[in-house]
Structure formats: C-alpha cells, structure tokens
C-alpha cells in the first residue's frame, strides 16, 4: 500500500505532462465569422455552386447510404491535377457501389472563370465540382479534420459509419485501397 501511495502521484504527474502538448493546440482560434457579406458576392455566372463553409459543411455529414470521397484541390495545385483522373475513374467505376466523388475547388475567385471553368471543360470532368470560398481558413480547416494542416491535395472519405482524412496525394491503387475499407 505504501508503494501505491508513492507511485500514485508519479503516475498523475506523467499523465498531466502528456497533456501539455495538447494545450497549445487548443489555442487555435475559434470564432464565428460573418458570412452574410460573402454570400452576397456569389457570382451566378460561374457554372459551379459556390459555398462558404457554413453552407458547405452539410456536404461533409450526409447520412444516406452512400460513401463520399471529398477531394480538396485547385487548378494551380500540380499534385492535385495529377491525381484528379484517379478520382474521376473511381467515380465512374464505383457508382454501383454507392460511391460519389465531390471535387471541392479551392481556386481563388479570380481563377473561377479564367482557370477553373476551362479546366473542367477541357478535362471533361464528370464528378460533381463545387467551389469552397471562405477566407476564414483557420476557422474551417479544423472543422473538416482536426489533423489537417491546410496543405492540398487533401481528401476526406466518409459514410454514415466511418470517416478518414488524408493530407496527401494518391495513386489510383492507394485511393482504391482506402475506399475499399469503406465499401467492403
């Protein structure tokens, strides 16, 4: 019993010292941004739906029977462009397995007409393309995934039971392998 009394505090100290690291992370800023003004800027000439994070967030939490592959990309992001055909292929091949790919463009507003539209047209992209335009990145990035530092390409795979986030580029094989964890 004496030993227990001695060891108890040591164990406690260890547990608390482990928590120190987490504390600095908690200081990440969390405030409610104003969206009204951004929404009024929506350009109805652009072919794709434009979301701020508040209106976009429900796309990350659908609870139907589908598995969603949500890829964050931009036309200026070379590794994103490299992996885009794999997402297209997946979308075509896995439709019968109730899989839907959503390509979330983070292109800047100045690029929507000049870069994004011509790119999607030229590559004949069939997956759903949406635009996420919300400058308050520090607020919404952790809401997509706590572990996301903000680099793209980044991909979220989820269905109503399970979700995984990947801050990386994929080969077709790797992407399929990850998806298989959701549909099999």
């Amino acid at each position: 019993m004496k030993h227990l009394l001695l060891l108890g505090p040591i164990v406690l100290v260890m547990i608390f010292s482990c928590n120190n690291k987490a504390k600095s992370e908690e200081k990440v800023k969390d405030s409610q941004p104003e969206y009204a003004e951004i929404q009024s800027k929506v350009n109805d000439e652009v072919k794709f739906p434009i979301y701020n994070f508040q209106s976009f967030e429900p796309l990350l939490y659908k609870d139907d029977d589908k598995t969603y592959v949500v890829n964050f990309w931009a036309t200026w992001c070379k590794p994103c462009i490299v992996e885009l055909p794999y997402f297209e292929r997946l979308n075509a091949e896995q439709k019968d397995n109730n899989v839907e790919v959503i390509l979330v463009s983070l292109d800047m507003p100045s690029m929507w007409k000049s870069k994004l539209e011509p790119f999607v047209e030229k590559k004949e992209i069939k997956s759903t393309v949406v635009i996420l335009d919300d400058p308050k990145q520090n607020d919404w990035i952790p809401k997509v995934a706590e572990e996301w530092g903000g680099g793209i390409p980044a991909t979220l795979i989820y269905n109503k039971d399970k979700r995984s986030f990947y801050e990386q580029g994929f080969t077709y094989e790797e992407l399929n392998e990850e998806l298989n964890k959701f549909i099999n």
């Binding site: 030993h3 164990v11 482990c18 600095s24 200081k27 800023k29 983070l106 400058p135």
Partner: protein, 205 residues
C-alpha cells in the same frame, strides 16, 4: 508485492506511452515552446546565412515560402512589409524555399534569385538544399511561418501558422496573426493565438 509489481508495470507503460507519443510529435516538427534548430543555408546573394549570424536579433520570422505557389505569391508584399516593420525592432524575416527544385523547376535557385530581385525582397531568401531543415521545423505548406524568440536556451518557437486570416485579399484582413504574435512577444506579453492553419501548397519533395 503483487500490487507493487502491477504499479511498477503501469508506471513503466505510462512512461513508455509518454515517450512514444512525444517522439511522434517530434516527427511532425516543432510545437510551441520547442527550441528550433539553426541552419546554414545559401542565400540568393550567394552568402551562407545562419540564425547565429544575427547577434543583436531578439527573434526571427522564419517563413517557408516559394516562387510558384499562388498563396506564397499573394503574400510576397505582406512578407516584405513584415520585414520592414520588424527588422528594425530586432525580428527579421528569414525566408526559406523548402521545395525540391528538381520537382519544381520554378523554385530553382536561379529562379529564386530572379524573383527576389523582381519583388525587391529585403530579407534573405534561402534554399533548403537537400530538404533537411523544413522537416525539422515541421513546415507543411507554403507559406508557413515560425516565429522564434531568442533566449538563453536557444531560439524558442512562439507561433506557428499563417500570416493573417485572409490570403486572398490583404485589404480584408481582420486578424493579423503574425503581427499580433510578434507585438506580444516584444512586449513580453502572452501570445493569444499561438497556432493557426491556412490553405497552402504542399511542399514538393
């Protein structure tokens, strides 16, 4: 005696768990309060630069950035402005290009020189040759800022993250994360927001 054994085992396990989670954190780069490594990297002017060269500095704004990322480009003027404001106060900007020029020719040393001249960079713009330094810091994207404070035990990490809260539009910035952090550091006050996130370009390995 059995209780003792059980507790020793428990203590050992917790210690091990503590160490292993710590080493994972280190693999991912620095946290606030860690001491940052110095480096010797080649500047666009041909000189080799180390943090220890700056004898009278109070700290550093180490910014991982590059030529080719649109977010880095969007911040070039703001990085020049940071250097203009804080170099006289003892916190100069040190920019480091972490990209592999073989993967991204637009980020070659020659291209860096050209860009530094075009934009009139007032700060050193270094190439992370061999890509040894950015993983130690844990830079994940460009631009990615590490504010260091020079102390007796070394250069301590005080802030990690974005420059401000609006990469697309400097005129609509509401919160200047880096300026707030440097101002607080220089005033000896607590930095309120020590880590932030932003969309940026992944580092080309």
């Amino acid at each position: 005696m059995k209780t003792l054994k059980a507790f020793v085992l428990l203590a050992v396990l917790i210690t091990l768990a503590g160490f292993s989670s710590k080493s994972i954190v280190i693999d991912n780069g620095y946290n606030i309060g860690d001491t940052a490594t110095d480096f010797s990297l080649k500047n666009v002017d041909g000189e080799t630069i180390s943090l220890s060269d700056y004898k009278s500095a109070k700290g550093f704004l180490v910014i991982f950035t590059c030529n080719t990322c649109p977010y880095s480009v969007a911040y070039e003027d703001r990085i020049n402005a940071l250097d203009a404001k804080y170099k006289p106060l003892g916190v100069p900007v040190i920019a480091i290009n972490p990209n592999n020029p073989e993967k991204k020719p637009g980020d070659s040393f020659a291209a860096m020189k050209t860009r530094a001249t075009e934009k009139g960079f007032t700060f050193p713009y270094l190439l992370d040759e061999g890509q040894k330094i950015y993983p130690e810091y844990g830079a994940k994207r460009t631009p990615h800022v590490f504010l260091l404070e020079k102390t007796l035990k070394g250069n301590v990490v005080k802030y990690i993250g974005a420059i401000d809260d609006n990469s697309g539009d400097a005129s609509n910035v509401e919160e200047k994360f880096v300026e707030n952090a440097v101002d607080a550091m220089l005033a000896g006050k607590e930095i309120k927001v020590t880590t932030t996130r932003a969309i940026g370009c992944s580092i080309k390995v």
